[in-house]
Symmetry: C2
Subunit: 489 residues, 2 copies
Amino acid sequence: MHREKKKATMQFLLEVVDILTNYVKKTFDRSTKVLDFHHPHQLLEGMEGFNLELSDQPESLEQILVDCRDTLKYGVRTGHPRFFNQLSSGLDIIGLAGEWLTSTANTNMFTYEIAPVFVLMEQLTLKKMREMIGWPAGEGDGLFSPGGAISNMYSVMIARYKYFPEVKTKGMSAAPRLVLFTSEHSHYSIKKAGAALGFGTDNVILLSTDERGRVIPADLEAKILDVKQKGYVPLFVNATAGSTVYGAFDPINEIADICEKYNLWLHVDGAWGGGLLMSRKHRHKLNGVERANSVTWNPHKMMGVPLQCSAILVREKGILAGCNSMCAGYLFQPDKQYDVTYDTGDKAIQCGRHVDIFKFWLMWKAKGTIGFEQHIDKCLDLSQYLYNKINNREGFQMVFDGPQHTNVCFWYIPPSLRGMSDSEERREKLHRVAPKIKAMMMESGTTMVGYQPQGNKVNFFRMVVSNAAVTQSDIDFLVDEIERLGQDL
Amino acid sequence: MHREKKKATMQFLLEVVDILTNYVKKTFDRSTKVLDFHHPHQLLEGMEGFNLELSDQPESLEQILVDCRDTLKYGVRTGHPRFFNQLSSGLDIIGLAGEWLTSTANTNMFTYEIAPVFVLMEQLTLKKMREMIGWPAGEGDGLFSPGGAISNMYSVMIARYKYFPEVKTKGMSAAPRLVLFTSEHSHYSIKKAGAALGFGTDNVILLSTDERGRVIPADLEAKILDVKQKGYVPLFVNATAGSTVYGAFDPINEIADICEKYNLWLHVDGAWGGGLLMSRKHRHKLNGVERANSVTWNPHKMMGVPLQCSAILVREKGILAGCNSMCAGYLFQPDKQYDVTYDTGDKAIQCGRHVDIFKFWLMWKAKGTIGFEQHIDKCLDLSQYLYNKINNREGFQMVFDGPQHTNVCFWYIPPSLRGMSDSEERREKLHRVAPKIKAMMMESGTTMVGYQPQGNKVNFFRMVVSNAAVTQSDIDFLVDEIERLGQDL
């Protein structure tokens, strides 16, 4: 690169850093909006000076800086202390620095050869996570994958490989009709895995739950027996540790008893709830997780690690490689000068694999295990605070008793509906309340919180806290804002 | 956050930026080593002041800065102009700035709601890519996925859905025995997809290639007929545009004729070669790509976009959603205030999806299409330069005639083997030459280039150029270095 040009591009990079650090500072400033909402057609038509179209000719570095500013301006501040919309929120500065370093290193996890430090960090971190799960001496295997859905997909793949290894070469026709079980409240990724991997969604049986969204073990056993009676083969049970909407924890020990009795693979989807293993106060909610054959755990959710960071952890060593290896000689040469067991690529369904470990490792170094514990305990305390505040408050109705995770689910009942007795009309009206309030929130840009229906329950708000920057005043603000926006509906 | 602590963490972030910009500058400095090699046990035992183990207690920010420096120190400079080891190399500063912004925005592609700008950028960029493929008006669909292997997996999934949609609900038992075809030189991800998705690797038929690694169409037709005669159903053909080792381009038009004749899905794996569509000079190598049903194209390879950035492009609209949607009401609410067709999450097998688009979009803005074209033409010119330099040079033997992509494959024959006639002994000795030279390269840290065997050919070097910083002098250096390290073997 010519010296002049080099200088200009380094200067450009520093100017982007300036834009970014300003953005970060403003994100933590409550007087900043969470978002500046525009409809798709508005952004597509082009805002002043911001044109998304790509062209044949280059633009100036000045214009590129403007584009960077505008991209942030019209985006959503997921690190804002009043952004409660997703399970992943917050903006940890150490994690952010880690991700910037990762981008700068710009390498790939498939071999030790080109990612020596990251490969070892991944190995040590996964071992530490397995120790926290409670597997003897942290033995086992694992990988960071591109999100919880893929981690869950891995669990189904390796369960199938464990019981019917010939499927790898001969396909599903080499196995009997296999059935997967997961709760009606579980994440849809188990069903997606069933479709993708060739089981078919009809063979993903949904389990009934109690009023707090937890699997009823007797229902699992009844459904296993039913499936066996039909001549099919029960293969796999997913127990959710922290469901998406209710934050429910399935009773892992009781489910594990049934899995042992019928010789089924037990997977625990702790994408959302796995972080609680870091907390001495809350880890009991995952009691029995050490009996699982595999566990999904996303540090990018409850632990505040930047996106993406999801681990699939496996109790039996070697099975990931057995399931996925294709021994491609052009990538994984056996005749290298170092110990090639550190080349992890052939265990994955990916070839190239993004470095997701470093930011997490760096945050763990900076916080220590106790730092994560404090973060988690604080978030759960805040949820309890919200629950206590709105339970029995006029105009609020809880969807279930007591928070199980940081999820607090509730209806806001506008004054106009408070006197009405339950009827189809009232249900229809109530169903439209949360979307309306949410739309107004987004348009005013003050806060964001999720809503959804569940089963036969009409739309309700799902509040979650995973951002370290949230305080009680932000919870108060959310409640006030819902009342302000909803009072005339 | 308390003001004091906030100030300290922002200060920390700027110090990390300082470390990173110094790293970037040094990466482009040829007097810097490509790597400082250590064995796994050395790094695990702990280098001075660098300990990979995680602990319960936090470390100081000063130590975290040291950890950042050491992580880079013991890593590999994939952006160095003498790093030729992978298809992905280089360090584009605009792309890097884009990735830093992406990490700062820390959001997720699944809904317009939380990633409005990124969702639109993805949509526009995919359309532009489809136009370059040559699909009418750029119509169709697509997604950025976590790498070429997953993109290829999508192609197999949607092909199956197109012909046997009932597999989604009923599983593979609802379909006859389905067969996939791909070249013996193709990427192993097609086989991995066959295993994962329940086809079985026995049903992934490898096609024979000519001496330059290109599929022989007559072999495809013969194998289709053979499969049909056995009563199985040919489903899918993968044509590789830029194979991993040889850089070969399968004859897409001839393969498309056969796919049309037998009604098979045609996928083009252009993970490596797709970038050539940007070059008026070289795009003819992909002639016929517009007849494909789906295309994989990784901008993170030939186009120098930072990792990860891989697109799966599909000619038929709606089929990605049809194949993968599960309509999870808790994530994809139909009753939002904006046009929810912009919520892309349900098309993916992932739930959360990393923002891979922004850095690519930003680079495209900054370079224009012509900038990518110049980059590609330059890399291919450099490969031709290397080929011309070592073809007929004493001690070098080419694996095939003429570069097809930037891949140049060759044996280095040390003086001790030059007089020997072909024999098992010579072959065994030659097989050990490339690994030995590679090990010495890594230990001296001067350069890195890949090697592998292929079929019955013993280990040879595979040189590739995708880094914009490479010059002819770097090519000269590589050749000199191989001769220097290999002369006494």
